[in-house]
């Protein structure tokens, strides 16, 4: 079993769901990343997504767009982010999240090798569907990296079949038609999507997009195996991390989110 899937299983055995959190590599400064990862772990994150900054993030809303842009403005390059990751201690599985061009340009093999060397367990590419992922799936399988695909409320049954067949680690259920970002929602579409996925796979299913408070996490964990929190963390880091001054506040925030995965 992959380390990512194992993290979900461990939660399951403890009678809780998984908390997946997202940070942008390089926002705040790349040098802060190891400290941030440590704080996220201390708060109770079960899986961490590391966003690789991209100039044209079409699947992202204002928070992650701005975060990605700040990282690029600082001169952060995705492969440098991997190098920093390699030196960052931690037990929680890490997934890189981003866009295909970041993986294509260094070359699939080379990117995969550097991701492995960085201790990464898998990837989520927001602009790649299972059909277009063929070569990346082959390379990832060879190296033992998981390929996480997104399932959407608009996905047909045939497409969900494909997503679960080619997905590894977990299935990322997108809570709504839309981009990443905070927002009020009822998770009605998410619930239906998760049940459609559930009948197709034993892989864990985590819901993401628009989950920005413990109540959202609680709502989603009623029916899914985990919740993904991104924009909330990214905005917090931008405003309050301040070289580590906001560390305790971050740990407390993640702890509250994690507690909401246990309330079911």
């Amino acid at each position: 079993m992959s380390t990512i899937q194992a993290a979900f299983s461990a939660c399951h055995e403890r009678g809780e769901k998984a908390l997946v959190v997202f940070v942008t590599a390089g926002d705040p400064d790349l040098a802060e990343l190891p400290g941030i990862l440590e704080a996220l772990e201390e708060g109770g994150a079960d899986v961490i997504e590391i966003g690789l900054p991209f100039s044209d993030p079409i699947a992202d809303g204002p928070s992650i767009q701005a975060s990605s842009q700040r990282a690029l403005d600082r001169g952060v390059r995705p492969l440098d982010a991997l190098k920093v990751l390699a030196s960052a201690k931690g037990k929680v599985p890490r997934i890189v999240m981003g866009y295909i061009n970041t993986v294509l340009q260094p070359g699939l093999e080379s990117f995969a090798d550097q991701a492995l060397a960085a201790g990464v367990s898998g990837s989520i590419l927001c602009d790649v569907t299972p059909e277009e992922a063929g070569d990346w799936i082959d390379v990832s399988r060879n190296k033992g990296l998981d390929t996480v695909f997104l399932a959407a409320p608009t996905s047909t049954d045939a497409r969900l079949d494909l997503v679960v067949e080619r997905g590894r680690g977990f299935i990322y259920a997108v809570s709504r038609t839309g981009v990443t970002g905070k927002g009020q929602q009822t998770f009605v579409e998410a619930r239906e999507l998760v049940s459609r996925l559930r009948s197709r796979t034993d892989l864990p299913i985590a819901v993401g997009f628009g989950i920005s408070k413990p109540d959202d996490v609680r709502a989603v964990c009623e029916f899914a195996d985990g919740a993904v929190v991104g924009s909330l963390i990214v905005d917090f880091l931008a405003e309050h991390w301040k070289g580590g001054a906001g560390r305790e506040e971050l740990v407390a925030m993640v702890r509250d989110l994690k507690a909401a995965t246990k309330a079911v």
């Binding site: 991209f54 100039s55 044209d56 993030p57 079409i58 699947a59 992202d60 809303g61 204002p62 767009q65 701005a66 842009q69 690029l72 390059r77 995705p78 492969l79 866009y99 295909i100 061009n101 970041t102 294509l104 340009q105 260094p106 927001c126 602009d127 790649v128 569907t129 059909e131 277009e132 695909f149 997104l150 399932a151 959407a152 409320p153 608009t154 996905s155 047909t156 497409r159 997503v163 997108v174 038609t177 839309g178 981009v179």
Partner: protein, 392 residues
């Protein structure tokens, strides 16, 4: 030679569909609807009738006598500047609006750079009574304020885009995000032959009326075909619609002209085929301007409609296969061509279209060559900048 994309939407190795999962069903629906409609006589007739009665097609070809005299070439122009709204963009906007109506989509979104495609889209939305939202970079809104007003006058909402470089590529990003969010009732009319499959193919088919007309008009008028066909290339829609008619005529050389900006060696340009590398931008694998990490590079051209870091997938394929060749023309060369076309023919071309005339004026073609240039649009929109650039 291969003229339609394969089942995965690829022209050779280029093209495909690199978009969030949420959009795939909409792209599938669009592809099916387009293929169905395009095979129906009734749809083709409705499209052709609107092109004729609303857009004013067929546009003529015009022999450029004084340009020919001045250059020693034989130059003929395809007059897309005479279309309603002033450019070729309306051919595609009209075709896609018809499709949107068939699919029951009530809301249309579009991106625009210079504003030509935005105006064309606002126009067809007014014609069909569809709600229209146009994304336009903040910087472009400022540069092209008259077109912003035109769109508003026809009832469209214009949303200034302040992310990224605040220009066309960012407007496209924002339109994609809107589409991901509102995909159930919204159709996205991409204004060029780029984007995920089926856009590059569909846009070519809606624009091929340019080449089909020009080819038969030229044959009828001159009893033969031209030796060279030239078009400017932004995202590549006017060029691909023009080129497509000549795929079966190997003796007709096809030449695409990209925006060289301040010169391709300066880095300030918008010439992905001439000076870029393949990668994924806006849902498609094609040549683009990027750094070694795959980040999209800023572009520069005095022509807002060519100021785009990517290019339609089929152009990458035509370049790879050698069927078409591509070069760049710099701002100063295009400005010079702009002025000479005006002086010699009494026709003011769009800055974009002026790029297509640069090979005519720069002595790069053999004397006597029979050239057909696609004059993709008229220059009214560029008067403000021309006043600043040309001290007359």
């Amino acid at each position: 030679m291969m003229t339609s994309p394969d089942a995965r939407g690829r022209f050779g190795q280029f093209g495909g569909r690199f978009v969030p999962e949420t959009l795939i069903p909409a792209l599938d629906q669009l592809e099916n609807e387009f293929n169905q409609a395009w095979s129906e006589d009734a749809f083709r007739r409705e499209f052709a009738t609107l092109l004729s009665e609303y857009v004013g097609r067929p546009t003529p070809i015009t022999e450029a006598r004084r340009i020919s005299e001045a250059t020693g070439l034989h130059v003929v122009m395809k007059r897309e500047d005479l279309n309603h709204t002033g450019a070729h963009k309306i051919n595609n906007a009209l075709g896609q609006a018809l499709l949107a109506r068939r699919m029951g989509k009530t809301r249309i979104i579009a991106e625009t750079g210079a504003g030509q495609h935005g105006v064309a889209t606002a126009t067809v939305c007014a014609l069909f009574g569809l709600k229209c939202v146009v994304y336009m970079g903040e910087e472009d809104c400022r540069r092209q304020s008259l077109n912003v007003f035109r769109m508003k006058l026809m009832g469209a909402e214009v949303v200034p885009v302040s992310s990224g470089t605040k220009t066309l590529k960012d407007a496209l990003n924002e339109a994609m995000r809107d589409w991901v969010t509102n995909v159930r009732d919204t159709h996205y009319i991409i204004g060029t032959a780029a984007g995920p499959h089926p856009y590059p193919f569909m846009v070519r088919e809606f624009q091929r009326v340019i080449g089909d007309e020009a080819r038969s008009q030229y044959l009828e008028r001159y009893g033969r075909l031209p030796e060279v066909g030239i078009a400017c290339v932004g995202g590549g829609s006017n060029a691909i619609g023009f080129f497509a008619a000549f795929y079966g005529d190997p003796d007709v050389r096809l030449l695409g002209v990209e925006a060289g900006g301040l010169g391709v060696s300066s880095g300030s340009h918008a010439a992905p085929l001439t000076a870029g590398t393949p990668g994924v931008l806006h849902g498609s694998y094609s040549y683009m301007m990027q750094d070694e990490a795959g980040q999209v590079l800023p572009t520069h051209s005095m022509s807002a409609g060519l100021d785009y870091p990517g290019v339609g997938a089929e152009h990458s394929h035509l370049m790879a296969s050698g069927r078409a060749t591509y070069r760049a023309a710099n701002d100063d060369e295009a400005l010079d061509a702009f002025r000479r076309v005006a002086e010699l023919e009494g026709i003011i071309p769009a800055f974009e279209s002026a790029h297509a005339f640069v090979p005519v004026f720069d002595g790069s073609l053999e004397p006597g060559t029979r050239v057909l240039v696609n004059l993709s649009g008229r220059g009214d929109k560029d008067m403000g900048m021309a006043v600043d650039l040309l001290k007359l």
